[in-house]
Symmetry: C2
Subunit: 147 residues, 2 copies
DNA sequence: GTCACTGCAAATAATTTGCAAAGCA
DNA sequence: TGCTTTGCAAATTATTTGCAGTGAC
């Protein structure tokens, strides 16, 4: 397992601006703040957590704008959805190739960087065109183990 | 990728009876029929699909009984939840070690049997106690490709 | 007979949608 | 200005819960 690279927020925000320009989408205040909340953390927050945090800066932001914006950002490829075993969708602005450890007790999600990426199963092309491969390791995290 | 082994419904139903006896749970008509619906297919139906099918035989079965029963069966280890990227939870009575191909267009889930199981990432023990490892390959299935 | 299980109804959580007003390019 | 995006409110979808009656062992 390789160590996690540091988060470069400025780079991520620059990617947002560029992606918006490229796709004709507008860089609105809401979009910027919602993306910033996802971009600045590696804790994979869910939609409601993002909503609560953004609301501190933009008190009039609505719940559905958060959902719509997260969907747009995902479509632009700037963030990705992580679907844990339980609870709502979680979001991740980490575009590096990586996988996840999901705690089945508290729901915490930690990035896993593999030394070698798992190869696609041979013969998978008979099932369809592959878009992505996700490895999810489930278990009890250190924090839950000791508590 | 290894070929999928055939489904042995009788064996699966026998496992249910034995697991109920072992855990003190009762083999009710509803529980039997709900399990049978999951056990006899490899299409990974969701809770509502199971509900619709069981209702044909047990017209008074309720939606919440299906949810509660699926949760019990999962706890007993007779079925497992599959969480696709979109939509509700799907259920699977296949207890052999396997992974999934999920079609991002129609939501179809197909079992994948690997020649070699992916090894746990080295150093994963620093994150916590591992319970399971799931590989999910996402893409467009053959059926959606041609339509 | 006892205790787990079920059906009903209603609650909750998570997410989506229609529409008119507001804001970026 | 024109078209995207937002906020509001309400609708959906997925799932869970309390409770009294029912049934398996």
């Amino acid at each position: 397992m390789k160590p996690s690279p540091p988060i470069d927020i400025e780079q991520r925000l620059a990617n947002l601006t560029e992606a918006c320009r490229a796709t004709g989408m507008r860089v609105t205040h809401q979009r910027l703040e919602i993306f910033r909340e996802v971009a600045k953390t590696s804790e994979h927050p869910d939609a409601d957590t993002i909503f609560q945090r953004v609301r501190k800066r933009l008190p009039t932001v609505s719940h559905d704008t958060v959902y719509r914006t997260l969907a747009s950002l995902e479509e632009m490829g700037l963030i990705s959805r992580v679907d844990p075993a339980r609870g709502g969708a979680r979001y991740d602005a980490n575009c590096d190739k990586h996988h996840h450890f999901v705690c089945t007790e508290c729901g915490a999600i930690t990035d896993i960087y593999l030394q070698y990426e798992p190869p696609l199963p041979e013969g998978i092309e008979n099932l369809g065109d592959v878009e992505s491969l996700h490895l999810q390791v489930r278990g009890i995290c250190q924090n839950c183990k000791t508590n």
